[in-house]
Symmetry: C2
Subunit: 474 residues, 2 copies
């Protein structure tokens, strides 16, 4: 008869402890296949516990498949083919991929928003309002494309600030543009060829690569994507940022826009994905109108994010689908749940509806203008100013700095790093590199601490213009 | 000379209005390609506005590509190849895909959680604490897999309640399991063959289909996935819910689990995705241990969600990757930003850390037990009880009701619908249907209003057992 002492059972209940011990005996082979277990009553008597305790343990072992019962006969041990080792894993800790930026004094590659620029007080107030005013709505499942109130607010915003006429139903809200790109690939097809700007924002290519879809780079000229180069590819889909290209800063002019739309109209399956990621932050004049706003043919998928305008840690983006694709989405992909929680959707809805988004963007545009001017002033007043050329400083949250130097881009990056300044060069954003060195640094300034600007520029210039004979001492 | 009246400019500034009118004249062809515009000074004088106003308008038109300037000569109209119509779109409203469930008195297909079961007061309190205590952390970008505090809390929870030994680094947090399935496909490869249980949870197949990956159904026997049937496929990846299969309710016993692990170990690229979606809600005895907890070979990807245990509107799920895949994720996919906002991650972290999750699950388990017992009592006390058979009622949030009937499953569904009751039948969950009618209804009870239970069962039975001669009158 099975004999277990219950003294060492710790916090386990009697039944749990009994269940564990019998399970151990089965797994260790002490109890063998088809061995009959004592009846519940006999085992209870033997162990001086109640029959119900034994019954609970037997039932759990039955449910997990360790025992089987034969009607009117009793309980038997199942045949466990223990080919597998059963010792619990004690995995080593796997080193996490962590950002190395903290070791730099200033990181000009970082395009994050500054934490202190987030409208925390207003956002908190609206979160409280959401909890109290939308308690019921919060518990109702969101449509796949997002709650209607938010999509209506976004449609109004796009009409007022981007000159776009879209219906709320065309809008799909998702947890970040990266997620939405994955949806677009599923919507348009993994068998299509996706063209990306070269140079361009690398994450886009990473997403196409991770989905193993064919991704071809298309060269730019001074007006953006070169139409001849595009026609030479097999591309079905073109991804571009016509209002402000990263990293070159090119604004695609109106005639090139029409050329690209003409390209898209030439074949049924062709589409243009317009990534309008920082159009709000043009620092002179008015925002450049969206390509979508002149598209009368349903060929442009418009995409934008609140991660740029609000905070990098707010994961809410949206896309506007042309009518035909909208119907295709509803038919094939609306089984997907919306990836943004209701709570944040209602909070953002109120933020836009009450005019806070507009105010915040205006405030941030001023802030970025001041930030940019501070950096430009430091550069212009620097003794080495004659050896640099500032480019594309009027739009978006970065500009270019062309350096008069003999050093390769790799050497420039290394020399800046030795002074605690992290930079990237234009050449790094090419998929098809024609020249290995562009001597052009990208200055992202949205996340730079204002008080560090003068020292950062000094360190950068000290680094990149340092004499080769002395840079080993740094 | 260009002549515009500024009287009708409405809210536009002078420069905005001038910019719009010149743009219109270029687009309409009134101003033609290479036509020279008046100098800024002359136009300003002519229109009685300041030179700076004209300059701003010209600059904006330059930035958008409508004008070009020639040094020391002046401004010229660009050649706009206006092949495209430019009238703004006035799209019709596209009908949104909306849930039809509101038209039913009771929806037994709905597996959502009840809004009133969500621990709103505690969650709100924790949200407030998050705003005050984690203000700085909220603005720091989350690692791709989620904030470490939350992943540590999940690892602890899995150790305590699922007997799993995992490190926080193995955990990837995402906005819903659907999103995580997309990540798994990118991680394991679009070229792999994914096996799904047949019958099974349909959304999983939809996701594989939307990604155009090969998805093969594998037949079940009474122990779950049939290993022989599995071996006959070319499957690399097996997706299953061993602790509680949907919709059959099967618990995969320990010997079958070992067989499946043995299958996975036979080839390098084979993996098992364990979807543990409602393991917390076993209503008798202890939860069934996770398959992951007996896997010593790194072949099981474990997946779970807080949408089941907390609320359908909380979009937070997670997966636990075996060490090797974890390194692959870090290398290839950690460029993806985490899709759950920091705010909800910190709130959930506190919810788990302070013991609320455990308490909530215990409370919900009792709630669901009462809910289930109410429904079972109504069924057992019904005059038609002799014509039904209750199956798999001990686990998860649904059970099966086998009906003694001549009607097809389509007819049963229609007859129930005529009484305002929405149901699905087991046969609908097959990819390879062997029989067209199973006469087995799936009763999801987590979202049913308790006060409607007696009437719902009455209506259901009235419907499905109604005489064919009278059901036209309903």
């Amino acid at each position: 008869m099975l004999t277990y002492s219950f003294e060492k059972r710790g916090n386990d209940s009697l039944y749990e402890y009994l269940y564990k011990r019998i399970k151990e005996d089965i797994l260790s082979g002490t109890l063998t296949a088809d061995e009959k277990l004592p009846s519940k009553r006999n085992l209870a008597k033997h162990l001086d516990i109640s029959t119900i305790t034994v019954e609970n343990a037997y039932n759990q072992l039955m449910a997990e498949g360790y025992l089987y019962s034969v009607s009117k006969k009793g309980f038997y041990v199942n045949d466990i083919s223990s080919q597998m080792p059963i010792a619990p894993k004690r995995p080593e800790r796997i080193p996490d991929v962590r950002d190395k930026k903290n070791s730099y004094f200033t990181d000009f590659t970082d395009n994050a928003t500054r934490p202190d620029s987030f409208p925390f007080t207003i956002w908190n107030k609206l979160m409280r309002l959401t909890m109290s005013d939308y308690a019921d709505e919060l518990m109702v499942r969101s449509p796949s494309g997002g709650i209607l109130l938010l999509r209506e607010a976004i449609a109004d915003y796009l009409y007022q600030f981007r000159g776009m006429h879209v219906t709320p139903e065309q809008i799909v809200v998702g947890a970040g543009t990266e997620y939405l790109y994955n949806m677009i690939i599923q919507l348009l097809g993994q068998d299509k060829t996706y063209a990306v700007e070269d140079p361009g924002y690398q994450k886009i290519s990473h997403i196409y690569d991770a989905n193993r879809v064919t991704c071809v780079p298309v060269a730019l000229d001074e007006s953006g994507v070169n139409t001849n180069a595009l026609n030479e590819t097999q591309a079905d889909i073109l991804h571009l940022s016509p209002s402000h290209h990263f990293p070159t800063g090119i604004v695609t002019p109106i005639n090139r826009r029409y050329e690209l739309l003409t390209w898209a109209c030439a074949k049924k399956n062709r589409y243009i994905i317009e990534d309008d990621y920082d159009s709000e932050f043009r620092l002179v004049g008015k925002p450049i109108p969206a390509l979508q706003s002149i598209d009368t043919t349903g060929k442009v998928i418009y995409m934008n994010t609140f991660s740029k305008s609000l905070s990098s840690t707010i994961r809410i983006s949206y896309m506007v689908l042309p009518k035909e694709l909208c119907e295709k989405y509803n038919h094939h992909l609306s089984f997907y749940s919306c990836t943004v929680s209701n709570f944040e959707q209602y909070t953002l809805y109120q933020f836009i509806e009450r005019g806070h988004l507009e105010k915040h963007i205006n405030r941030m545009r001023n802030h970025y203008r001041i930030q940019r001017d501070r950096i430009l002033t430091c550069i212009r007043n620097h003794p080495y100013f004659s050896r640099v050329k500032i480019k594309e400083e009027h739009a978006g949250l970065h500009f270019l700095l062309e350096i008069d130097t003999q050093y390769s881009d790799e050497e420039l990056i290394k020399k800046a790093a030795q002074k605690g300044i992290r930079i990237t060069c234009l050449s790094q954003y090419y998929r098809n590199r024609t020249t290995s060195s562009s001597h052009t640094i990208i200055i992202n300034y949205s996340g730079i601490q204002p008080e560090r600007i003068p020292e950062s520029i000094q360190l950068l210039f000290d680094g990149i213009f340092s004499d080769p004979t002395c840079h080993t001492t740094n």
